[in-house]
């Protein structure tokens, strides 16, 4: 195959970013007439293979091995490396997950093949495909090219491609094997666990629902909290809300609070004063709701609503449930 997609699992199902990689591969394949295969592995390989075979790709490679039943960086790196060596694709696509960041650099070192990471754009029209990543905390873009004939290891940033656009079809499933013994696995992992967070770590939240003075009074805060919960985000606020005592300072975003760059920042009743903006202007998508059409927040928002937060928020929570 020309493009091998390595599918990651998420609780027994195909990780959304795996589907995004399929979209990416299909995009490249169309332009260059490439063939695509996807690799699934681990204890749920059967289930994953079935799921992936419903997409418009050439084939699904199914890898099962005792030592791959749970993730280890050595195990996965060695396994994928062997598959790549045997199958010799031009490109190997990954979603840029924490797991991929942990083991794929090892493959890069083992094969001495470059790993072009966290791409937001891909231009595969020319012979020399250009992959674009963000640099300098997303202030600049960089067009990267590989100086090697391949296989090239490529990872895509979350939502660079849409999982919705992955064309369906049907693919055959083929078993593959590797040589793996326990001496090759140098790490031992315990079970993943969640922590009761004492403070609120807004910096790692993907979605932030933030309230400003426009929320009116302390009694209205639960409405925002509900929305945050329903949408799967964290609650935050601008400084005046903290100063008024409606929320603790752990929620504060701005020059004297936390700095965040989530996928989406929902600003409710926030005017957009500079002390607040410096803490959230790195957000990838800013959605602002404010009564005042002149509010500075609208200058930096991607989506804006001139309206009453107190009317919109409860209905929004309802619609999202």
């Amino acid at each position: 195959m020309d493009i091998l997609i390595v599918i990651e699992e998420n609780n027994g199902k195909v990780h959304r970013m795996g589907l995004e990689s399929i979209t990416a591969a299909q995009t490249m394949a169309k332009g260059r007439g490439f063939s695509i295969a996807a690799l699934v592995m681990g204890s749920n390989a059967d289930e994953l293979a079935t799921q992936v075979s419903n997409y418009d790709i050439g084939e699904v490679l199914k890898l099962q091995h005792d030592l791959l039943s749970s993730y280890s960086s050595d195990g996965y790196a060695e396994a994928v490396k062997q598959v790549v060596e045997k199958e010799s694709p031009k490109y190997v696509f990954f979603g840029h997950t924490y797991q991929v960041r942990d083991y794929v650099p090892k493959i890069s070192a083992k094969l001495m093949k470059p790993f072009l990471v966290d791409n937001v754009l891909m231009n595969s029209d020319e012979e020399e495909t250009v992959f674009t990543k963000q640099m300098f905390n997303a202030k600049l873009y960089s067009d990267m090219i590989a100086m090697d004939e391949g296989p090239l290891l490529i990872s895509f940033q979350s939502a660079a491609y849409s999982s919705d656009n992955a064309a369906s079809g049907s693919a055959s499933v083929r078993d593959v094997n590797i040589n793996l013994d326990s001496s090759m696995i140098k790490t031992q992992s315990e079970d993943p666990f969640q922590e009761e967070s004492g403070g609120v770590d807004l910096t790692s939240a993907e979605i932030i629902v933030s309230v400003g003075r426009g929320i009116g009074k302390e009694e209205n805060i639960p409405m925002a909290k509900d929305l945050a919960k329903v949408i799967g985000g964290e609650l935050a606020s601008s400084r005046p809300v903290v100063d008024a005592g409606w929320l603790s300072s752990t929620h504060q975003i701005g020059s004297s609070g936390q700095s965040v760059s989530p996928k989406m920042y929902l600003a409710l009743g926030i005017s957009g004063a500079i002390q607040h903006v410096v803490g959230m202007k790195g957000a990838k998508n800013i959605v602002a709701i404010n009564k005042d059409p002149e509010a500075p927040i609208f200058e930096i928002a991607d989506y804006g609503v001139v309206g009453d937060v107190l009317e919109i928020v409860p209905k929004l929570s309802e619609a999202l449930e």
Binding site: R213, R239, P240, V241, D243, A244, S249, S256, G257, I274, Q275
Partner: protein, 616 residues
Amino acid sequence: MTQIEFTVIEKTILSLGILTTFGSFIYEVWRRLRIVFKGKQSFPLDRFGARLWRVFKEVFLHEKVIKGRFWPGFMHALVFWGFIVFGLVTVDHFALGFGHELMNAQTHKLYSYIVIPFSIFVLIGIGSLTYRRFVSRPKALGKISPTSGFVALFISVLMITYLLGETDLSPIVWRINWWIHSLIILAFLFLIPRSKHLHLVLAPINIFFKPFDLPDHTPVNIDLEGSEDELDAMLADLTEMTKNQALDVFSCVECGRCIDVCPANRGGGLLDPKNHFILDLRQPLLDKGSVDVLSEINVEAGWECTTCQACTEVCPVGNQVEKSDEIRRLEVLVEGKVPQEYQKLFMNLQESGNTEGRTDSPLAERLPTYTTDKEYVLWLGCFARYELDPNFTKSVENFANILDVAGITYGVLENEHCSGDPANRLGDKLTYNMLREHNMEQLAHASKVVTLCPHCALNLEKEYAKYSEVNYDVSHHTQVIAQLIEEGRIEVKKGSNGKVTYHDPCNLSRMLDEVDAPRTAINATTDEFFELEESGRNTLCCGAGGGLWWKKETTGRTHLVRAEQVVNSEADTVVTGCNFCYGMMNQGLKPLTPEGRSEIQVKDVADLVSENLVNN
């Protein structure tokens, strides 16, 4: 009044009593003074006359004692004046014990006409103070103090026994009464040096030696080319108190006025200046027997201080209370333990010479550049240069406009670096000296500097001078404006800004001693000026000083306390003379303004005057 001959036994007991208690008194005082004398530097003797005058005002007239808390202060004054009057009485009392009374019957009678009323005053005074301390129990006085109880009891009994002694008593009763009076005095002698009542002895001395400069921290000279031994010596030096500071600790009367005026404490923070900056050091001084105790200061409390000097200003016994400089410089220079947001601040100052790590200033580019033919260097400061509050840039331009109208030439320095105030107040003396040296070079050919930032003004004028001689004069912009108005070089009409009040910036009013110039300027623009509570030299800090503008987490609402006062004053416009105060008012007023009330306007003095200029 009855006369009696005391027996030999009585005289012996009396002598022994006096010798032991007096000896113990001398010993305890000497023990403490010995430690004080180990302190760094020497006691200042400059401005001798001014010092004496200050002692007269603050000790004999009880100026600060009464001003800070009127009724308790006045009651204390009664006790104090009674104490003075009783001096002669007490000596005479003991002289009588040895059969050599100083006053004859007639003198005694005449003097008693003065003393009796005073003893009533003292009873009234001590009675009300006792009620305040043990029944009303204001927070600043802290836990119930047994020694205070004894002292109150002693004083009361002394007055009563004195009064009784002036009536006709039977010999036996008179004798008993006399002995009670004597024993109480001896017990008093025993108690005084071991308690806060040592202020009786030390306060006048402490007030005499109090530095005139506010604040008066020792400069930290760092020689980067020095040897390791020199460095070790310098660092060891940082934990040692000066003589003045050590004397302060023993003079403290534990009244808690410093707590009452502390913005960090009022905002609900941890900081308690009375304990953290003074009393916590008392036992270490006594235990160690040396002045090497500055590292005992509570670190967390030390980071909360805004360095506003309200504590030092209000202290009735002449203490320089604030010690955040001392503890922070230890944390930074010796320990390397600095809150993360300050680490970034220091790095920015070192790398880019300003607090924000920026390289460009649109404001500076819009203003004329300084050349030696111009009258003033217009010093901008990082706050204005890098738009820490974007609205303030207009204030700078308004001041420039005033200067233009008055025909005064000025320019900004091309290579102006941060005056270093944040580094100085936060303890990073190394970065501070780097900035200072750079700026001194930039100012080498300047003679007059004017700035809108009192923090910059204070450093350029006074703090830099602690390290090397300074060749320029520094004015705050309100001083220049006031002068222009008084000299008629600009004409200002009265405008309409509703009810106008003024928030005195602590760096300007207390540390630069300037309260009149801003008022001259403001009163030229309005007839509706009124004073805020805690104004002038007693101003309540806005909460941004001491580097706190850059602090991330605060345990209290220090930055809101003053804003709340402004809101409650129902002013329409609040005027300030400092960019930090300006920024803090802008941040603090909105959330605290009740619904329905219109927003309070925040203006700088320059804004107000520029708006109302006649010859624009």
